[in-house]
C-alpha cells in the first residue's frame, strides 16, 4: 500500500539556538477505516531523520479527531463513535498532518466469526503450530490444521469430534479450549493465554454466542501491510512499534497487530515483542516479520553502534550497481574496500567469466596495456570467448538437471546439452530459453528441450524444480501444509502443479527416444478436499487455459517481462556467480523470511536485465564493470566484519571444474572424460553423472537435484591429501614436461620460477620470493628442484582460491 502523499510532509524544525534539522515525518497507516462497533485502529508517527536514523515519534505527537462524534482517540488507537468521515489531526512540532478517517456500521456489534475472530486466536497463541496441535497427526489426540489452512476441518474437530468437551455451550468456561488453553486443566503445552486476556475473552464470547460456524461467503484476508517500511536505530534499547493491517475480500481493513505473530531473524541485533514492539540490541541487521493468516511481511531493521559518527562519506562511484551498494553501506556506516590490483582483477575476471586462470600470454598482454579502460576492454573480450558459453551451458545444465538416467539416454541428453549451449551462443534471451523448455513438445531427439520432462516425470517434483530453479523458490512445504514462513499456500502449490498435469509420453521408433506431448485431459487434485485445482501462476492469476496447452500458457508467463520472479532470480544467480554470494542467499531460497540484503540493488539489476531483453552478456558486463566487483579482498576498519553487503571482495575456493581445467592448462596436460574428445575441459561435460575423483572430491554437482547447494566449494582433508600426494599434481607436473622444456630452451631457474608464478598465480614473484626459493635448492638436479617448486605452487592456497 503506497503511503498517501497527504500524510507525508517535509517538516523543517527550527529551534532558536540550534541549526535547522530537516526530518521526514509519516503517519501510519495512511488512512483509517473502521467498520463495526468493535473495530479500532492503532497508529504510529514515524520520523526519518536526516542522519539516516529513524524514530518512533508517536508519543511526542499530539493527535486529535476533528469530529469527535465520528471517532475518538484512545491511547495510540482510533475507535468509532458514529458513522461518517472525519480527519485525524496529527501535530508534530509546529506541523500538522491530516489523516482521513471513515467509520461505518458503528452501532453494529455482530456475533464473532470462527474464521475472522477465533482462528486468528488459535494461530496467535500457537495452538495450531507444528510443535503443537498443528502437527500432521495432532498432539495428545487433538489436531488442528497447521497455521489454520483448513478452517472447516478445524471447526469440525473442535465442535463435532468430541461433542460437549472441547466446546461446552452450556458452561463456556468449562470448555477444554479454555481450561486447557489457560493451563487450568493439565495441558502439555502449558498456559497459552491467561484467564481474562483478550484471547480468552474472544473465545469465551464466541462460545457464549453459540460457537457457530460461519455462513458461507465470509470475507477472506487478501493481504497484510506492515508499518513502518524500515527502522534504523542506535543500538541498545531504542524502540519502534509496528502496525499490521489486513485487507479483506469485502474491501474492509482491520488492525491485526495484536493478532499477528512477530519474529526477528536476528534477536541479537533487534528483538520484537509479542505485541510488535521492536527493541534494538547490538550492532547488526535483522529482518522483523509479522505473520497473520497465510501472509508474512517484514521490514529491515538496522542497529548501529550508539557511539558511532553518523556520517559516512563514500566518494568513489562507478556504475549504478555501486550507487546502490554504497547506499546500503552508508546506512550501515561501512566504507567499501579499495580497488583491487590489475593482476588480481585479471585472474578474477578470467575465473569468473570464462572458467580458466589466465595464461602467461594473457598476463603479459594485459599488464603491457597502459591505455585507460583496459579492464572494460578485457571484460568485453572475455564475453566473446567460447569458454563463456561453455561455463553458462554448465550452469544451466545444473539448473535443468541434465544427467543420464534410466529413461534418458546419452544421445538424448547430449542433444539437450547442445541445444542449451547453442541458445546461449546465439544470445537467446534467458527468459525465452526457459520458456522454450517449459513449452517443449516433440521427440527427445528432434526437440531436445523435451528431455526436461524425461529427466523428471513426476509432475509434483517437476513443478517444485521449476519453482526452485526458474523462480528461485522452494514450494515443497506447501504440498502438505501452508508454508509457515512464506506466502505459499497449498492452493498455490496445487495450482502451479496443475500446469504439468497433462504431459503425455509416447514411445518413438528408436527405443531410446520418447515423444513428449500435451494431453487434452488430466487434472490436479487438492490433497485436503480432493477438489480439482485450476492452473494458477505462483503468486499470480488463474489464467484461462481452456482450449490451450497448459504448458504454453505457463511458458508465456515465464517469458513475460511482467513476471515478478524470473528476472530477479536470474539476475541474482548471475550476481552470485561473480560475487561469491547472492543478494538473496542461497539463490534458490527466495522467501519473505530470507530477504535480499539489498532489495534496491536486486530490483534494479532485474529491471536492467529486462531492459536488455534478458541478455546474459550485458548483465555480466554491468556486474564486472562495477567498482564493487573490482574491490580488493582487504578489509578496512569499517568492514572487517561485513561478509554479506559486498563491501569487499569475497575469497572463494575455486569450483571443481575450473580448478581442474586450470590445473590441466598450467601443467600442459589434459584429462580424458568419458565420451568427450581428447582436449575437452571438464566444464564441457554434458552429463551430471560423469565425474572423476578430482571433480567429486572438489565438489562437482552431480545434478541429482536442482539445489544450488550441489556445487560444493568447502575444503576437506581429502582435497589436501589429493593435492599433496595425488596424481593431479604429482603425475601431471612430470607428464606435462613443462619444466624440462623450459630448461632445454635455456631458461634459468629464476626465469622458470617467474613463469610458474605467472601461470599459477597471475603475478610475478617478488625478488625476495625468488631468492628464498633458490636458497632452498639442495641438489644439481634442477628439474627435480623445480618440480618441487611447481608442486608447492599448486599446493598453496594462493592457487586454490579466487580472490
Amino acid at each position: 500500500m503506497a503511503p498517501n502523499p497527504m500524510n507525508r510532509l517535509l517538516l523543517i524544525l527550527c529551534a532558536a539556538s540550534l541549526p535547522c534539522e530537516a526530518a521526514d515525518v509519516t503517519f501510519y497507516p495512511p488512512q483509517i477505516q473502521l467498520t463495526g462497533a468493535r473495530d479500532f485502529q492503532s497508529f504510529i508517527v514515524y520520523e526519518a531523520l536526516e542522519n539516516g536514523l529513524t524514530k518512533d515519534a508517536t508519543a511526542e505527537a499530539k493527535i486529535a479527531v476533528a469530529d469527535e462524534s465520528i471517532a475518538r482517540v484512545e491511547g495510540h488507537s482510533v475507535v468509532p463513535a458514529g458513522d461518517g468521515s472525519t480527519t485525524l489531526q496529527v501535530q508534530f512540532a509546529d506541523q500538522t498532518l491530516e489523516v482521513p478517517v471513515q467509520v461505518s456500521l458503528s452501532d453494529q456489534d455482530d456475533d464473532l466469526s470462527f474464521r475472522l475472530d477465533v482462528m486468528p486466536v488459535l494461530t496467535k497463541t500457537g495452538c495450531n503450530s507444528g510443535r503443537c496441535h498443528g502437527a500432521a497427526r495432532g498432539k495428545d489426540g487433538f489436531r488442528l490444521s497447521l497455521y489454520g489452512f483448513d478452517p472447516a476441518g478445524d471447526y469440525h474437530r473442535l465442535a463435532q469430534e468430541m461433542p460437549g468437551r472441547r466446546l461446552n455451550l452450556s458452561r463456556p468456561e468449562a470448555s477444554l479450549i479454555l481450561t486447557k488453553g489457560t493451563g487450568v486443566a493439565p495441558h502439555s503445552g502449558g498456559e497459552r493465554f491467561a484467564v481474562g486476556s483478550e484471547s480468552y475473552q474472544t473465545l469465551e464470547r464466541w462460545l457464549r454466542e453459540g460457537a457457530n460456524d460461519d455462513l458461507s461467503g465470509v470475507a477472506e484476508a487478501t493481504d497484510i501491510s506492515i508499518y513502518p517500511p524500515e527502522a534504523v536505530m542506535k543500538s541498545k534499547g531504542q524502540g519502534q512499534q509496528l502496525v499490521v493491517v489486513a485487507s479483506y475480500s469485502d474491501g474492509t481493513t482491520r488492525d491485526v497487530t495484536k493478532l499477528s505473530t512477530f519474529i526477528s531473524n536476528n534477536d541479537n541485533a533487534a528483538e520484537v515483542s509479542e505485541t510488535g514492539l521492536i527493541e534494538s540490541h547490538n550492532r547488526g541487521e535483522a529482518f522483523v516479520m509479522a505473520r497473520f493468516d497465510s501472509f508474512t511481511e517484514g521490514i529491515p531493521v538496522i542497529s548501529l553502534p550508539a557511539e558511532a559518527d553518523m556520517q559516512m562519506e563514500i566518494a568513489e562511484t562507478g556504475n549504478y550497481i555501486d550507487e546502490l551498494v554504497n547506499a546500503k553501506l552508508r546506512k550501515l556506516l561501512i566504507r567499501p574496500s579499495e580497488l583491487c590490483s590489475d593482476e588480481r582483477f585479471l585472474r578474477r575476471a578470467y575465473i569468473d567469466i570464462i572458467g580458466l586462470t589466465p595464461t602467461e600470454d594473457d598476463y603479459e598482454r594485459f599488464m603491457a596495456d597502459t591505455a585507460s579502460g583496459k579492464r572494460a576492454r578485457l571484460i568485453d573480450e572475455l564475453l566473446d570467448r567460447e569458454e563463456f558459453i561453455d561455463l553458462w551451458a554448465m550452469k544451466l545444465g545444473e539448473m535443468l538437471k541434465i544427467r543420464t538416467a534410466n529413461q534418458v539416454s546419452y544421445k538424448a541428453l547430449l542433444g539437450f546439452h547442445n541445444w542449451v549451449r547453442h541458445q546461449i551462443a546465439n544470445d537467446m534471451p534467458l527468459n525465452e530459453l526457459l520458456a522454450e523448455v517449459i513449452r517443449a513438445e516433440g521427440g527427445t531427439f528432434d526437440s531436445p528441450a523435451t528431455n526436461y520432462y524425461q529427466i523428471e516425470a513426476n509432475n509434483r517434483l517437476l513443478s517444485e524444480n521449476v519453482a526452485q530453479s526458474f523462480l528461485g523458490m522452494r514450494i515443497q512445504c506447501a504440498q502438505c501444509h501452508n508454508h509457515p514462513f512464506d506466502r505459499w499456500t497449498m492452493d498455490d502449490y496445487y495450482g502451479f502443479t496443475a500446469f504439468f498435469s497433462r504431459i503425455g509420453f509416447k514411445q518413438s521408433t528408436d527405443p531410446r527416444e520418447y515423444i513428449v506431448h500435451e494431453l487434452d485431459q488430466g487434472e490436479t487434485y487438492h490433497v485436503v478436499d480432493n477438489r480439482t485445482v485450476a492452473p494458477k501462476y505462483l503468486g499470480g492469476a488463474t489464467p484461462e487455459t481452456d482450449g490451450q496447452k497448459r504448458r504454453s500458457v505457463l511458458a508465456h508467463w515465464i517469458s513475460d517481462h511482467e513476471n515478478p520472479y524470473v528476472a530477479t532470480n536470474l539476475a541474482n544467480i548471475v550476481w552470485a556467480h561473480h560475487m561469491g554470494r547472492g543478494i538473496v542467499e542461497p539463490v534458490d531460497d527466495v522467501r519473505i523470511s530470507n530477504p535480499p540484503v539489498n532489495a534496491a540493488l536486486l530490483t534494479e539489476l532485474a529491471s536492467r536485465f529486462r531492459a536488455t531483453n534478458f541478455n546474459l552478456k550485458e548483465l555480466v558486463r554491468d556486474i564486472c564493470n562495477s567498482r564493487t566487483y573490482q574491490l580488493s579482498t582487504q578489509a578496512n576498519q569499517t568492514n572487517t566484519e561485513d561478509l554479506t553487503n559486498f563491501s569487499k571482495a569475497a575469497v572463494r575456493r575455486i569450483r571443481a571444474e575450473v580448478l581442474l581445467d586450470s590445473l590441466s592448462r598450467i601443467t600442459n596436460t589434459s584429462t580424458r572424460f568419458a565420451r568427450l574428445p581428447e582436449n575437452a575441459r571438464s566444464v564441457q561435460i554434458a552429463d551430471g553423472a560423469v565425474s572423476n575423483y578430482f571433480l567429486s572430491t572438489f565438489g562437482r554437482a552431480n545434478r541429482e537435484t536442482v539445489c544450488s547447494c550441489e556445487v560444493d566449494v568447502v575444503p576437506t582433508l581429502s582435497q589436501a591429501f589429493h593435492l599433496i600426494n595425488g596424481e593431479t599434481t604429482n603425475d601431471r607436473i612430470e607428464e606435462g614436461g613443462l619444466v624440462s622444456e623450459l630448461l632445454k630452451a635455456g631458461a634459468t631457474p629464476p626465469q622458470i620460477i617467474e613463469r610458474l608464478y605467472v601461470r599459477c598465480y597471475t603475478r610475478k614473484p617478488t625478488p625476495m620470493e625468488v631468492e628464498k626459493i633458490l636458497a632452498s635448492f639442495e641438489s644439481d638436479d634442477l628439474e627435480s628442484e623445480l618440480h618441487d617448486v611447481f608442486w608447492a605452487l599448486l599446493n598453496s592456497r594462493e592457487f586454490l582460491f579466487n580472490r
Binding site: 541487521e285 535483522a286 514462513f485 575423483y693 566449494v713 628464498k772 618441487d788 608447492a792 592456497r797
Partner: protein
C-alpha cells in the same frame, strides 16, 4: 518458562546467515572452550546409521502378541536379557544384549527422510535458514582429536547431507574414506607419498610450500583459507605417523576377525570403525544398508539385517574384549521407524512417533531396556525420548555441556542442544 525459551529459539532458527558478524574463523578462535572438569565417562563414539528408516519392529522391538497385520511375518527370539526379545534375525545381537542399552521409546514428529535425518544427526529440528553442525563436527569442535588422525571420520562416504560442519568452520567437517572397505581393492586414496618422493624430499617440499604460502596467508583471511590450512596440518601429521596411516589398512586384521565381523559391507565398515577408534579417532560415523522399505519390507530385511546383526554382535564383543567398550559409545540409529501396520505392498511406511535406538558402552547401562512402545509399536507407552534428549545424553557422557552456547554467524548465540535433557535412567 521452557516454552518461552523455545519461542526465542525458533525465532533464532529463522535467521539468515547474513547480518553483520565476525568471520567464522575469528568467531571460532574467540570461542572459549569449556574447562575440562572431571574425566568424562566416554571418550569416543561409533555412530552406526541405518539410512531410510529401519523398522523398530524388525529390529529390537518385536510385538509377538500383536495381530499379524502389525506383528508382520517375522518371529522373535530370546536374548541374553531375560524376558527381552529381538527380531529373529538378530541372533548375534541377542547374545550381546547384556551389554546393550536399548531405547524403545524414541519419538519425534518429522516423517520426511531429510528432516528426520537432520533431527538425528544434529539433535536439532531443521531450520529454514541456519545449518546446524552434525554431532561429529560438534564433538570435533568441542573436544578435538586423540591422535594424528582426524577427530571425525565418515565410513565410507558422508553419512548424510547433515553430517557436515553446519555453521561451524568447515575445518570441523568429516574425513571420508571415499570407498567401501569391503571391496578387495579398497584403499584410502593419496595416503602414501607419490613414487619418487621420499621423506626427505617431502620435508623439503613442505618447507617450500610454507615459504610460498606465507605471502598469501599473511595477506588474506577467510574461513576457507583457515580450514584448508588446518587440513594441510592434519595431513602432514597423519603422513608422519605410521600408526595413523595403518589404521585405514583393514587387511592388517587376521582372517578370524574378518570372518567374525563378516566379509561384507556391514562387517568391513564396523571393523574399520573399531580400528579407527583404537587409533584415536573421536567420532566414527558409518552407514549401512537402505531401509526405506515401502514395499517388500520383509524380503529386504531378510537380505540386509543378518550382515548387520553379525557385524554388530562381533563389534560389541570385540570392543568389550579389548576393554574399549568402557570408553567408547556405540550408537545405532535411523531417521525414524516404520508404520505399525504392514501395508498392501508388504511394506511399512515412515513412522517417527516411536522407534528404537541401540546404545552400548561409554558409560550407559548394560543389559537395559529404556522405555516401551505400546502394544502395536505405534506410540511411546512410557518414557519418551526426543532427539534432543538423545543428543544431550551423548554429549553429556563425553563431558560436553548441552546448554553451552556457541556463536553462529551474525554473533548469534546458539545452545549446543535446544532444550532436552540427558536421560539419567540409562546412565550406569
Amino acid at each position: 518458562m521452557n516454552h518461552l525459551k523455545n519461542t526465542r529459539r525458533s525465532a533464532l532458527q529463522l535467521g539468515t546467515l547474513s547480518a553483520l558478524g565476525l568471520s567464522l574463523g575469528q568467531m571460532l578462535r574467540a570461542e572459549t572452550r569449556a574447562p575440562a572438569k572431571e574425566t568424562p565417562p566416554c571418550e569416543s563414539v561409533i555412530q552406526i546409521y541405518l539410512p531410510g528408516g529401519i523398522a523398530h519392529q524388525e529390529l529390537v522391538d518385536p510385538k509377538p502378541a500383536a495381530p499379524v497385520e502389525y506383528r508382520g511375518e517375522m518371529d522373535s527370539i530370546e536374548t541374553s536379557i531375560p524376558g527381552v526379545r529381538f527380531n529373529e534375525l538378530m541372533k548375534e545381537t541377542a547374545k550381546v544384549a547384556d551389554r546393550l542399552c536399548v531405547v524403545r521409546s524414541m519419538t519425534h514428529t518429522e516423517a520426511a527422510h531429510e528432516r528426520g535425518t537432520h533431527n538425528m544427526m544434529t539433535g536439532y529440528r531443521p531450520s529454514p535458514a541456519i545449518v546446524y553442525p552434525s554431532m561429529g563436527s560438534l564433538i570435533s569442535h568441542e573436544l578435538g582429536g586423540l591422535s594424528e588422525l582426524p577427530p571425525y571420520v565418515c565410513v565410507p562416504e558422508l553419512t548424510s547431507a547433515f553430517s557436515g560442519s553446519g555453521y561451524l568452520s568447515s575445518a570441523f567437517g568429516p574425513f571420508t574414506l571415499g570407498g567401501d572397505p569391503a571391496r578387495r581393492s579398497f584403499k584410502v586414496r593419496d595416503l602414501a607419498l607419490p613414487g619418487g618422493v621420499d621423506e626427505e624430499r617431502f620435508a623439503k617440499r613442505k618447507r617450500l610450500l610454507a615459504g610460498i604460502d606465507s605471502t598469501f596467508t599473511n595477506a588474506e583471511s577467510a574461513d576457507g583459507i583457515d580450514a584448508m590450512k588446518s587440513f594441510y596440518e592434519r595431513a602432514y601429521s597423519m603422513l608422519a605417523s605410521k600408526e595413523a596411516v595403518e589404521a585405514f589398512n583393514i587387511s592388517a586384521e587376521n582372517d578370524t576377525t574378518r570372518d567374525l565381523y563378516g566379509r561384507n559391507s556391514a562387517g568391513a565398515r564396523m571393523l574399520m570403525a573399531r580400528r579407527l577408534i583404537e587409533a584415536g579417532v573421536r567420532f566414527v560415523s558409518l552407514s549401512y544398508g537402505a531401509w526405506d522399505t515401502h514395499t517388500y519390507h520383509f524380503r529386504t530385511t531378510l537380505r540386509q539385517l543378518p550382515p548387520f546383526d553379525q557385524a554388530f554382535g562381533a563389534l560389541i564383543a570385540d570392543l568389550d574384549e579389548r576393554g574399549m567398550l568402557e570408553k567408547t559409545m556405540v550408537v545405532v540409529c535411523s531417521e525414524f521407524g516404520r508404520t505399525p501396520m504392514v501395508n498392501a505392498g508388504a511394506g511399512r511406511d515412515h513412522w517417527p512417533r516411536v522407534f528404537s535406538t541401540i546404545l552400548a558402552g561409554g558409560g550407559v547401562k548394560a543389559g537395559h531396556i529404556h522405555g516401551e512402545s505400546d502394544a502395536i509399536a505405534a506410540e511411546p507407552a512410557t518414557a519418551p525420548v526426543s532427539p534432543e534428549d538423545f543428543a544431550c545424553t551423548v554429549y553429556r557422557q563425553l563431558g560436553i555441556a548441552p546448554t553451552k552456547e556457541l556463536m553462529a554467524p551474525g554473533n548469534r548465540p546458539l545452545e549446543i542442544v535446544d532444550g532436552g535433557s540427558a536421560v539419567d535412567e540409562i546412565i550406569a
